[in-house]
Symmetry: C2
Subunit: 231 residues, 2 copies
DNA sequence: CAGTGGTCTAGACCACGAA
DNA sequence: TCGTGGTCTAGACCACTGG
């Protein structure tokens, strides 16, 4: 009864010994040849288990030296990017979008479509968005009606990107943004800046300002994400 | 001259066709047998390339049906956890930590070590921290002098964990925290809550409150992290 | 030098699930 | 049913690098 593949069994064996502390950072693991003997399998099977753990960041492998438990100095986590419509639907609220301003602006990198809008939950604004879209990279954007379609959603569904960067911070609401969100100036807000590229060419850059308390970013790092068993 | 392994060449070939939009989400890829013929290699080599892309989330593979480009509906990013000392050192500032309060509190989950402290940059506080450590899970914590050693750093180096959860939000500074940080009540702050477990047992739970503008979380998702070529 | 991991092969059997 | 991916084998050669 081998419902679980052997390479996965080897992998979880070793991972558990690391996470439990039995194998401390820097400790050396048996070589592939030794593990072959231990588990009575071919080298490729052992290699798959160890390579997976290496890719997950738990192991470091060096030729001639061997396989070692990685230092866990800098940790990282996987964090989901907010998808407003889907997230609000989960809590029985209605998502909406309202365009505030739309203009074309000529910049050093060519013409940029500038969109300013509000994200609404049950009709009440909870986030302000300031977005620039590179018209040269996304010519179709000029034809889309963004008055009620959130540009983020449209871009996500239509425009592939190869790189993205996110910055998360906090700020006090300022001027127009405070007014649009219906709060006093200086009210605490969460900011999310997101920029995407495709092949070195910038596609879009957006700054979203959330009313404090209306949105939270959650990230998990667990035994199930340390490596990737399956989708 | 095969400096780049064949399986990696296949992988980047396909990845680029996806990220450039040539292969749209839902599109079907050739079967492994067909790719074997195309690249003139063994099946394991093709399989490694495709499996890697599947684990990276770019592909979905189903028996009998074939291999398809995954929908990119919900995006995710990899984000580093702040390591204050290292980060400040990069910008030529001096990191410091100051303990405010330390007490043992008996709770429903056993006794918890409660630590309250400030993180300092060049002697000025920029973050407040409120931490609980499960004494049952980390008995050594009782013997550590946390007056100048930040407990997060100590825990990270000494206590392995298997799961972690992070929540990022914004809030206005309240009462004591505002006073400690030297700002007015209601001043915008970034909050980071982090909880770690080992085998279902909670190890530590911390809430950090950053002065707005003093800290930013940055996450990247790029061609280099979409799959994992190497460490 | 020699042990280690990195890669690759040419097969094989099986589980799954769409046709 | 039968094409597909998932897994595994028992070899092989090579690149690297520590002892």
């Amino acid at each position: 009864m081998n419902a679980v593949p052997l390479h996965e069994r080897i992998r979880t064996d070793i991972r558990e010994r690391i996470l439990s502390g039995a194998l401390a950072p820097g400790a050396r693991l048996p070589s592939e040849a030794e593990l072959m003997a231990q588990y009575g399998c071919a080298r490729m099977t052992v290699n798959k288990a160890l390579s997976t753990l290496r890719d997950g960041g738990l192991l470091v492998r060096r030729r001639r030296a061997g396989t070692f438990v990685a230092d866990r100095g800098t940790e990282s986590m996987v964090m989901d990017i907010p998808d407003f419509a889907a997230d609000l639907a989960l809590s029985d609220r209605v998502y909406g979008y309202r365009l505030i301003a739309r203009k074309i602006r000529e910049g050093p990198d060519g013409s940029m479509l500038h969109l300013e809008g509000l994200h609404l939950s049950d009709g009440r604004p909870f986030a302000h968005e300031d977005r620039h879209i590179n018209v040269a990279a996304v010519p179709e954007a000029g034809d889309v009606d963004f008055t009620e379609t959130p540009p983020g959603t449209w871009l996500l569904r239509h425009i592939p990107w190869s790189e993205a960067e996110h910055r998360i911070g906090a700020t006090g609401a300022i001027g127009d943004v405070a007014a649009y969100l219906g709060v006093a100036e200086g009210a605490a807000c969460l900011t999310l800046e997101r920029q995407t590229w495709r092949g070195g060419e910038s596609i879009t850059k957006v700054r979203q300002t959330f009313l404090a308390g209306t949105y939270e970013l959650v990230g998990r790092f667990g035994a199930d994400t340390a490596d990737r068993p399956n989708a």
